[in-house]
């Protein structure tokens, strides 16, 4: 499913679905304006198309018009690219026959991917562009570009407008690694080491019989070192700076915590005097901050997750095999190994599916270009780390001898493969790498994420 279809698939009865449909309509107007300007060879086509990109993905059926407009202006390579995108997205579309014919004239070998093989006397590519094998690789990269565009538009679409941290986390899953890090830092440095650690001394204080050492400990933790309000403020600013202008003064939980911090800071002189009222207020503020800490812990547990299970793999394979170009690829075997242990990763499911689809599609095309046996395997591996964490790796192996190394993975140029997928994986705190193949496979592309644990007991 491409980016446009993914947006369209969001339940239209939900608030997110209604927003998505509205944005798609708004973007469509901009895209059509851009295409019309391009057809008329007028100014402003690029700006109009860019407006559309900033709002939502484009209906892939517009690629037919874009291709024809480019061809009319002599931009044959660009036209072939757009025709390819159309056929990849809507192979049975109303204009598919005509688009295929146009692509046949521009690049007969590439057109053969989408239909009957071109005759030897077919016209050569006008601009002497890259070979069809590289273009096949480019197909995978184009889907990667769509993925990146989707992610970029989602980021702008769900930009914060003073929402709570929980709502931001719900709407922008690509921020979860950053949110997890910030929450972890706040909880560890401030809420655990300063606030939480003062708990036992506070109990003694409330009992009315604190030792001098306990009082000093309490004073040091709460009022010593960096001033408590300043320390709190620096964390709030780190959240707001890192998470795209988030305004935590509009977050109820953070406002309550802020008030508790200010109350504690104001109580220092009265605590020193062992004022009973001040001690009671301190205990109340302390309790509020402990509750805030628990709330943050709960929120961290609920960060977006995807189950890596047989259903996920089946969905990926079904979607890839349903693509026309993939269905034409000659493959001897596509093996999907059963998932031995279901695990969760902190990735939005639709993005995980898109990432693995890209990797799998590349592997299928690569294997199909090679000599038999043409095999691809998709499997999931869990690995225990020395830290007690676990890594979930989705491994796509293929029998193609074509080279694929880390530099190619990182390469962001559209015609060079998985660079955009790599960027998407990294945004979620994951990694993607190429490793030597095993059991007859030449190589494997491995996408890895740390396993997300939950609070359920171990069996």
């Amino acid at each position: 499913m491409g980016a446009y279809a993914a947006w369209h698939a969001i339940d239209p009865g939900s608030p997110e679905g209604r927003r998505a449909r509205a944005r798609l309509a708004q973007a469509d107007a901009a895209y059509r304006d851009g295409v019309t300007r391009l057809e008329a060879e007028g100014d402003g086509a690029r700006a109009a198309l860019a407006r559309g990109v900033a709002i939502a993905p484009m209906d892939p059926r517009l690629y037919a018009r874009l291709g024809r407009a480019c061809r009319a202006r002599g931009l044959d390579a660009r036209a072939a690219e757009y025709f390819t995108k159309y056929l990849a997205a809507v192979p049975q579309g109303d204009e598919a026959t005509e688009v295929r014919a146009q692509l046949e004239q521009l690049d007969p070998e590439l057109a053969g991917v989408f239909g009957p093989a071109a005759t030897p006397s077919a016209a050569p590519v006008a601009d002497g562009g890259p070979s069809s094998e590289l273009r096949l690789l480019g197909l995978g990269a184009l889907f990667g570009l769509l993925l990146a565009l989707t992610l970029a538009v989602v980021l702008r679409f769900f930009r914060d407008r003073g929402v709570s941290l929980e709502r931001l986390a719900a709407e922008r899953p690509e921020l979860h690694p950053a949110i997890a890090y910030l929450v972890g830092s706040l909880r560890h440095e401030l809420l655990k080491h300063r606030i939480g650690a003062a708990g036992d001394a506070l109990v003694a204080l409330r009992a009315g019989s604190p030792s001098e050492a306990q009082l000093e400990f309490l004073r040091h933790r709460l009022f010593g070192g960096e001033e408590l309000r300043a320390a709190w403020r620096s964390y709030v600013e780190a959240f707001e700076r890192t998470l795209g202008g988030l305004d935590l003064s509009r977050d109820k939980s953070f406002r309550r915590a802020d008030r508790a911090i200010r109350r504690i800071a104001q109580l220092e002189p009265r605590i020193a005097a062992l004022d009973a009222g001040a001690i009671a207020r301190l205990a109340s503020a302390h309790e509020e901050l402990r509750a805030f800490d628990q709330q943050l812990a709960g929120m961290a547990q609920r960060l977006v997750r995807a189950r890596v299970d047989d259903a996920l793999l089946a969905e990926v394979v079904a979607q890839v095999q349903g693509e026309y170009a993939v269905s034409q690829a000659e493959l001897d075997a596509l093996e999907v190994l059963a998932v031995e242990e279901v695990a969760e990763v902190e990735v939005f499911r639709v993005d995980l599916v898109l990432v693995i689809k890209n990797v799998l599609r590349n592997a299928i095309f690569a294997a199909a270009r090679a000599e038999p046996p043409r095999r691809v395997r998709l499997e999931v591996e869990l690995e225990l780390e020395a830290t007690g964490e676990e890594t979930v790796s989705l491994r796509v192996s293929d029998t193609s001898p074509e080279a694929l190394d880390r530099e190619m993975l990182l390469d962001r140029r559209v015609d060079r493969g998985l660079g955009l997928v790599t960027a998407a994986v990294r945004r979620y705190g994951g990694s993607i790498d190429v490793t030597p193949g095993e059991e007859g496979f030449q190589k494997a592309v491995v996408v890895s994420f740390f396993r997300a644990f939950d609070d359920e007991g171990v069996e």
Partner: protein, 143 residues
């Protein structure tokens, strides 16, 4: 009296231990794996109290191969790998202690998910955890 070694990158655990656990333990403190191992050559310790995050530690004092971690788990991104090694330093440090033959119980003040704690036990034997600074809970865990 039993001997407790606190290993952390600051002094918060040591301060807490000296104030609330000193009746039950003689307290030793170290701030890196190297320092802990050096102390252990001359002292017998009954239990370790470990911080997990060593955000303030210098890189050359850390246990763990940052370069290899970057290659294996972070796509070559060294800064992410370094941050990870710092955030999980307590677990890696425990691995270094076990490798050196020190099998005494280890207690973390950290709210590990059960599966993670189980993994640490699988890797390093007697590992316990309390979710926060609570003297009574710590005394029980350290018993």
């Amino acid at each position: 009296m039993r001997r407790l070694m606190v290993i952390e990158d600051g002094h918060e655990y040591e301060e807490f231990a000296r104030l609330f656990l000193a009746d039950d333990f003689e307290i030793l403190a170290a701030h890196s794996a190297a320092e802990a191992l050096a102390l252990l050559e001359a002292q017998i310790v009954d239990v370790f109290l470990l911080d997990l995050r060593f955000d303030r530690a210098l890189e050359d004092a850390l246990v763990g191969d940052v370069e290899a971690t970057a290659r294996r788990r972070f796509g070559g991104d060294r800064s992410r790998a370094l941050r990870h090694v710092m955030e999980q330093q307590g677990a890696l440090l425990l691995g270094a202690l076990r490798e050196a033959g020190h099998v005494e119980p280890a207690v973390f003040v950290h709210d590990f998910p059960p599966r993670r704690l189980s993994n640490l036990c699988r890797l390093y034997g007697d590992v316990r955890a309390v979710p926060g600074f609570d003297a009574a809970a710590l005394r029980e865990a350290l018993a």
